[in-house]
Amino acid sequence: MRVVALGQRLRHVVDHVTATVGEAHGERVRPWIQDKKAGWYAVLEDPKMPAMSTVLDQAHNAIDRKLFAMKGFHHPHGSQAAFLTGLAHLYNLIPYQRRALNAGKCGVEVEGGRVPTSDWMLNLQILTAGGYQCAPAPPYH
């Protein structure tokens, strides 16, 4: 149903552009929408497919701001990649809200992962320590 509705709306957009500003503009929009349509249908057809980019956009913008703010610390042969990866670790391991469904949980826990301890700082130290490795899952897991 959602796929059909999307197809109708896309056709409506093209028809609206054609009727309002002329066939030339309509023909310019139509192939662009045709190119994208398969990708949009793919999102609707598979419920496991991620549909929203909000989390990534927010994180990317915050990282970008931090990268800009830190430009005084960078140098051409510095470790900007390491800095950004470190920020990502903080995003994943620091509990990100105090109320609602996932109160007190970090991103890893929300996605079903297990963190070693209840202290995010200690988790950060443990998970970035090189002496540990994953234990194999028990047979009943």
Binding site: Q80, L84, Y96, T117, M121, C134
Partner: protein
């Protein structure tokens, strides 16, 4: 001849890492417990092993280790900048791998105590500038920067699976195109739900560069589970991203982000007046 911190020789322009990072951070609840355990070797080893078992991890032995060995207390060393704090090490009798045991109040190669940086690290990803962090929490911005860099030496692709998170099969892949100093850079990233999988820092936005970045996840997934394969990827429609995802995951369903397309639609209607475009 000089030696780097990883034990590699830095002479004659040749760098060779001969020592792996086998640091174990152990939670000992408080400092007096650590100082008490230092005088009892057997209790120290038992305490460390109990902690490792309690968190469900294993020790990273050498690849050649056949098992069957036991752990013994290895020679200690003193951290001069921490007032001569003694740091003990453990050694596997089978593979001779040496694990440095750091108590929870000590960071590797850092003088700063973790509890000093805790609040500042919370504020850092929240958008507070490092300069203000320094004012509020009395930490120099450079120190905080270096701490973030130290954590970032460990890839998320190797760190997150330790939490039981499988490498994602349905992903949202995108890059942030930014500037750093005078260079234009791209930050390829994969997201699955609330978890970020950063994949480095690319100076090129070509399909080949992104294929290399996203290929890290594919290689890690195949190493973990040879039959695993990506099943779906949502992209923002950037040509290099789409091309690299198709190359790496040929059987995956490729989706396009509707919101990004709607943001781009006005640029397809150049030449029209604003009221017509908005209508």
């Amino acid at each position: 001849m000089r030696h780097d911190r990883t034990g590699g020789h830095l002479g004659n322009g040749a760098t060779k890492a001969t020592r792996e990072n086998r640091t174990l951070t152990v939670d000992l609840h408080d400092e007096p417990t650590y100082f008490q355990l230092m005088h009892d070797g057997q209790a120290f080893v038992e305490c460390v092993l109990a902690f490792v078992l309690s968190i469900g991890f294993q020790l990273a032995h050498k690849a050649t280790c056949t098992g069957g060995g036991c752990l013994t207390r290895h020679s200690p060393y003193a951290r001069v900048r921490l007032g001569g704090l003694t740091v003990w090490r453990l050694q596997c009798t089978a593979c001779k791998a040496v694990f440095t045991v750091l108590p929870h109040f000590v960071w590797r190669y850092r003088k700063m105590r973790p509890d000093v940086a805790r609040d500042a690290l919370i504020a850092t990803p929240g958008g507070l500038s490092l300069a203000w962090c320094a004012v509020i929490y009395h930490i120099s911005p450079m120190a905080l920067y270096r701490v973030s860099c130290a954590f970032g030496q460990h890839s998320a692709v190797t760190g997150l699976p330790r939490c039981g998170l499988p490498l994602p099969t349905y992903i949202w892949a995108a890059e942030k195109h930014s500037r750093c100093l005078t260079e234009r850079v791209s930050l390829p990233t994969i997201v699955r739900g609330r978890v970020l999988w950063p994949l480095g820092y690319s100076a090129s936005k070509s399909a080949a560069a992104f294929t290399e970045s996203y290929g890290v996840v594919q290689r890690a997934a195949l190493a973990h589970e040879p039959s695993s394969q990506g099943r779906g990827a949502l992209t923002d429609g950037f040509d290099s991203t789409v091309s690299s995802i198709r190359t790496l995951f040929p059987g995956a369903r490729g989706g396009s982000c509707l919101r990004h397309a709607l943001n781009k639609l006005p640029s397809k209607l150049i030449g029209l007046s604003a009221p017509v475009r908005q209508g």
